[in-house]
C-alpha cells in the first residue's frame, strides 16, 4: 500500500503543474458535474469490490475519464479520476459501506491506471484537433484497455493480498470480462469525447442521459440475476421445510461446505456452486414419502431402498436446469464413499468429485451433532458433541470420508467454535 501511495503521489505531482496553470472554468465545471454524477451513482449502487462474475459489473466513470484524457490531456484525467474516486469513496465511508483505508487504496489504483492509460493514448493520439475519426476511436479503445488492465491487475493484487484468494483466479476473472466491458464502454466514451470536444463540459449533459439509462438497465439485469440465485436458494429452503429436521442443518452444511471448498483452494465461483449444491443436496428427499423419512424407528430394507434413491432423484430434478449442470454430479454422488461402499454407484476414491466428498463429510458431521432445535434432531440417532463427531470423522477418514477433506474440515470447525465462543464471551 505504501508503494502504491508513493507512486500515486509521484504521478499527481508530475501531473500537477499544467492543470493549475491552464484549465478553463468550463473544465472545472465539468469536473464538478462528473464528480457529482459519480457520487450519486455510487450512493444508489455501491460497486462491490468483488471479482465475481455473478453480476454484470460496470465501472461508473472509466469511459468519461478516458474521454477527458483524450480531449484535455492525461494530467487532467488523472486529477479527475482521483477526485471522483475520493469523493465517491468519502460518500461510501459516510454511508458506512466501506472503510477509509480502502478508499485510499482505490484512489491510488485509479490514479495509476489513469496515468497508464494517458501515457498509452498519448503514444498513438497526439493531435487534439479532430475527434470524429478512426484514430481517436482506436486511441479510446486502447485507453480503456490499458486502464482496465492496469486497474484489474492492481485490484487483483490487493484482493489477493487482503483476502488470501489466489491471484491467478482474480486475474482470470478480470481478463474474461474485459472484452465485454470494452465493447460496452467504447461507444459511450466516444460520444462523451465528441461532446466534450464540441461543447465542452456542458456537452456531457447530453451524454449523461443515455448513459444513465443504459447503466440502469444493466444494474437491473445484474440485480435480477442475483434474484434468480436467491430464487434457487429460497426454493431450496422452502421445499425442504416440508421436512422439519432439515431446517438449520442446511444453512450450516452449506456454510461449512463453502468454507471447506475455499480452504481447498477452489476458485470463488466454484465455492459459490458448492454452497448451492450443499443447500440442494437432499433435494431428492422431497420426492420421497415423508412417512419413511420421519420414521422414528429402524427402517425396513424396502424403506432403505427408497431412501437410497434420493441422490439420484435430486439429480433427476435438476436435469433440465442448465445453469445448475455442474452441481448435478455432486448431488448424485454425495453418498459415495472413498472405500467404494457408498451408494448409488459404489465409486472409489478419486472417482468421486472433490465437491461431493466435501458435501459428504459436512453432511455427515452435521447429522451427527444434530440440529439445535429439538425438532431438527434426526429421529433415529443420538446426537454427539462436536469433539465426538470430529473423532468419528477421523475414524472414518480414508474409509467413509476423504482424509484431506476431513483434515481441512477439522480446522474449519475449530475456527467456527472459537468464533462462537468469542462471541458468546463478548
Amino acid at each position: 500500500m505504501l508503494v502504491l501511495g508513493a507512486a500515486a503521489v509521484a504521478v499527481l505531482m508530475h501531473a500537477g503543474a499544467p492543470l493549475l496553470q491552464a484549465q478553463s472554468l468550463t473544465s472545472f465545471a465539468g469536473v464538478a458535474l462528473l464528480a457529482v454524477a459519480a457520487e450519486l451513482l455510487l450512493i444508489r449502487y455501491p460497486l462491490r469490490p468483488e471479482y465475481s462474475d455473478r453480476g454484470i459489473w460496470l465501472s461508473v466513470s472509466t469511459p468519461i475519464v478516458i474521454a477527458v484524457i483524450l480531449v484535455y490531456g492525461w494530467q487532467f484525467g488523472v486529477w479527475l479520476d482521483a477526485l471522483i474516486t475520493l469523493l465517491a469513496g468519502a460518500v461510501m465511508v459516510y454511508c458506512r459501506s466501506t472503510r477509509a483505508r480502502w478508499v485510499a487504496v482505490n484512489t491510488f489504483q485509479s490514479i495509476l491506471s489513469a496515468w497508464a492509460a494517458g501515457i498509452a493514448t498519448a503514444m498513438v493520439f497526439e493531435t487534439r484537433s479532430g475527434v470524429w475519426n478512426l484514430q481517436s476511436a482506436g486511441a479510446l479503445g486502447l485507453g480503456l484497455l490499458v486502464y482496465m488492465l492496469v486497474n484489474g491487475a492492481l485490484v487483483g493484487m490487493t484482493v489477493a493480498l487482503a483476502e488470501g484468494v489466489r491471484l491467478r483466479w482474480v486475474l482470470a476473472q478480470t481478463l474474461l470480462s474485459l472484452p465485454r466491458d470494452i465493447l460496452l464502454m467504447t461507444p459511450i466514451s466516444f460520444l462523451a469525447m465528441a461532446a466534450l470536444h464540441a461543447y465542452g463540459a456542458a456537452g456531457l449533459l447530453g451524454v449523461l442521459a443515455p448513459y444513465l439509462a443504459l447503466r440502469q438497465a444493466f444494474v437491473l439485469a445484474a440485480r435480477q440475476q442475483e434474484l434468480y440465485h436467491q430464487t434457487i436458494r429460497s426454493l431450496g429452503f422452502l421445499v425442504q421445510r416440508a421436512h422439519p429436521y432439515t431446517g438449520g442443518h442446511l444453512q450450516r452444511v452449506s456454510m461449512w461446505a463453502r468454507r471447506v471448498a475455499e480452504r481447498l483452494g477452489l476458485p470463488p465461483d466454484r465455492c459459490e456452486l458448492v454452497y448451492e449444491a450443499a443447500l440442494l443436496h437432499d433435494l431428492g428427499k422431497t420426492v420421497l414419502d415423508e412417512r419413511i423419512l420421519n420414521k422414528p424407528d429402524r427402517l425396513t430394507p424396502e424403506e432403505w431402498e427408497e431412501v437410497r434413491k434420493h441422490p439420484q432423484l435430486g439429480a433427476e430434478i435438476l436435469r433440465d436446469t442448465p445453469f445448475l449442470a455442474p452441481i448435478i454430479p455432486w448431488i448424485a454422488l454425495h453418498h459415495e464413499r472413498p472405500d467404494g461402499a457408498g451408494y448409488p454407484f459404489g465409486l472409489m476414491g478419486e472417482q468421486i468429485p472433490l465437491e461431493a466428498r466435501v458435501i459428504a463429510v459436512v453432511d455427515a458431521f452435521d447429522a451427527m451433532i444434530g440440529g439445535e432445535a429439538p425438532n431438527q434432531r434426526r429421529p433415529h440417532k443420538r446426537s454427539l458433541s462436536l469433539d465426538e463427531a470430529l473423532a468419528e470423522l477421523e475414524q472414518g477418514a480414508g474409509k467413509q470420508f476423504d482424509p484431506k477433506v476431513v483434515e481441512v474440515f477439522r480446522q474449519v470447525v475449530h475456527e467456527w467454535r472459537a468464533h462462537r465462543e468469542a462471541r458468546a464471551g463478548a
Binding site: 443504459l214 444493466f218 434468480y228 415423508e290 430434478i317 436435469r319 436446469t321
Partner: protein, 218 residues
C-alpha cells in the same frame, strides 16, 4: 469533418445496439434463466406425484400460443409462463400417501388436495422477485362464475390444464366439448374460444404430436 457523419452514425448505431441488448435481449435471456430454474421445481412435483401433476413443458408451449392469440402483453405472458412452472409447487406440502393414493380420494382428502394452489401461492410470495407470480399460482384452478375478474392468465391456465388432462386421458374432441359446455360457467368464454381456435388451427398431426409428446412424458 469528412469522417464526421459515418463516425456519428456508428456511434449512434452502437448505442442503439447496446440499448437493444440491455432492454430487449437481456430481459429475454433472464426470463429463460428463470424458467430453467423453475423447471426443476416442476420436475420435483412431477417426480413426487409420479408424473400426474406439475408437468410444465407441453403446457407452456400451448399456453403461450393461446396467450398470444388473446393479445396478452409480453410481461403478462412471461408472468404466466413462470406460473406454469410453479403452479403445483404447493404439492410438496401435501402428504405423499394422499398424492399417490391408488384409490379415489375421500372428500376430506380432495379438500386437502384443493389447497395446493393456496399453499403454492404462499410459497411463491416468499421468493424474492417472484411475488408477482403468486396471484396466478393461487388462481390457477379459478372458476369463472365465482371469480370472473381474476387475471386472464389464470383463467387461461385453469381451462388449459383441464383441456390437456382430458385430451390425454380421453381425446381432443371430448376435451373440446367439455370446454365448450363449461364456457361462461366454469371457464372464461373468451379463453375457451382462444384455446379451441388455437387447437383447431394447428394441423391435426400437430395436435397428435403434442399428445404423443405428452404421453412420452408420462
Amino acid at each position: 469533418m469528412q469522417g464526421a457523419w459515418w463516425a456519428f452514425g456508428i456511434t449512434v448505431a452502437s448505442i442503439a445496439a447496446l440499448a437493444y441488448y440491455a432492454f430487449v435481449m437481456l430481459p429475454a435471456r433472464i426470463h429463460r434463466w428463470r424458467c430453467d430454474g423453475l423447471r426443476a421445481f416442476a420436475r420435483l412435483i412431477e417426480l413426487r406425484t409420479q408424473g400426474r401433476y406439475g408437468k410444465a413443458e407441453p403446457m407452456a408451449e400451448l399456453a403461450s400460443a393461446v396467450a398470444q392469440r388473446l393479445g396478452l402483453p409480453l410481461h403478462e405472458r412471461r408472468r404466466m409462463e413462470l406460473a406454469i412452472y410453479l403452479r403445483d409447487i404447493g404439492m410438496v406440502a401435501i402428504p405423499y400417501h394422499i398424492l399417490n393414493k391408488p384409490t379415489p380420494l375421500t372428500p376430506a382428502e380432495r379438500d386437502l388436495m384443493g389447497r395446493h394452489a393456496e399453499i403454492g401461492a404462499s410459497i411463491t410470495e416468499q421468493i424474492p422477485g417472484l411475488w408477482h407470480v403468486a396471484p396466478i399460482v393461487r388462481l390457477h384452478h379459478v372458476v369463472y362464475s365465482e371469480q370472473p375478474d381474476a387475471p386472464l392468465a389464470a383463467h387461461l391456465l385453469s381451462a388449459l390444464e383441464d383441456w390437456i388432462r382430458i385430451a390425454e386421458s380421453a381425446d381432443v374432441d371430448t376435451a373440446a366439448s367439455v370446454l365448450k359446455q363449461g364456457a361462461g360457467a366454469r371457464y372464461h368464454p373468451v379463453v375457451v374460444q382462444a384455446i379451441l381456435g388455437e387447437v383447431q388451427q394447428r394441423a391435426l398431426d400437430g395436435v397428435q404430436s403434442l399428445t404423443r409428446s405428452a404421453a412420452l412424458w408420462l
